[in-house]
Amino acid sequence: MGGEPGGPIDTADHGMKFWEKQANALRNTLTRRKVVRLDELRRAAEDLGDNYLKLEYFERTTHALRVVLLERGFFTEAELTAKMAEVRKRHG
């Protein structure tokens, strides 16, 4: 997107929510330990196409991590769905 026209920049730093810090630490721990690579995460984010801009930054990175971890077989779609239901129940 570099070089495309754009609107005014909000120069305030809005900080990060707790879950964003945790999501960042997760991604960072995984890239640092070379479980996943930054390039493949970016590819997975760019594959979002038009949806790229509809998601917030950490939604995009979380989506990308899901794609790459599933591709690499660290867990299955079914395991993730079940775990998400468990987390939702616990915090809902």
């Binding site: 026209p5 754009g6 945790q22 809902g92």
Partner: protein, 210 residues
């Protein structure tokens, strides 16, 4: 411009384990992936916790310390400009294998950094990037009209000064070495570090003596 001790990475949600309100689908997804990876022994919970602490407590303050040293020690500055990563390692900082290019502001050249691809940023020196660094508008415009973008940050660069924009990537990060402001003669490195802000090291503002 706030001082560097409180300008950055403030957790406005307070110190607790969950944000207010019901968790979003992505929050649930992130937590579920983390738990699965911990259960499967790929990572452990301590690694996540210590990484979160490091991002809050250590990384954001490294950049100002390094630049204060560069301002105080000409030989160190030369080594920093020659090879940012090894210079930082000599300073006792683990730079996590990324290549670091330090670009020096001079009376003739002002430097500013961006990642048009995503949000590559010298995290080992500055912690997490601010919201605007990740924003689409900054990434779009700073490479096309950097002077206008800098003006939005309150920074006016005279037409006689060249503005160079450096586009980062996953393996190569930049940090700006600002000019040491007049009026800081004889200051200790600690005192100098106190006026070196994250924004100045990205190149969107200039450090001031007060």
């Amino acid at each position: 411009m706030a001082k560097h001790h409180d300008h950055d990475h403030v957790d406005r949600s307070g110190d607790r384990s969950f944000d207010q309100g019901p968790p979003s689908e992505y929050e649930i997804m992130s937590r579920a992936m983390q738990e699965l990876l911990i259960e499967k022994g790929v990572i452990n919970a301590d690694q996540i916790r210590s990484r979160m602490e490091q991002f809050d407590a250590d990384l954001p303050y490294r950049g100002p310390r390094v630049i204060a040293r560069a301002w105080s020690d000409a030989a160190f500055k030369q080594r920093l400009l020659a090879n940012g990563r090894t210079a930082c390692e000599e300073f006792g900082l683990d730079m996590e294998a990324e290549k670091l290019v330090a670009v020096e502001n001079t009376p003739q050249v002002h430097n500013v950094i961006v990642c048009t691809l995503c949000s590559c940023y010298p995290r080992a020196l500055l912690g997490m990037p601010p919201t605007w660094y990740k924003s689409e508008n900054y990434r779009r415009r700073v490479v096309r009209e950097p002077r206008a973008v800098l003006r939005e940050f309150g920074t006016v660069i005279p037409d006689s000064v060249t503005v160079r924009v450096h586009d980062s990537n996953a393996d190569m990060r930049y940090v700006v070495v600002p000019m040491r402001p007049a009026g800081t003669e004889g200051w200790s490195e600690d005192k100098l570090a106190g006026i070196i802000t994250r924004d100045a090291l990205v190149g969107v503002t200039l450090p001031r003596a007060s």
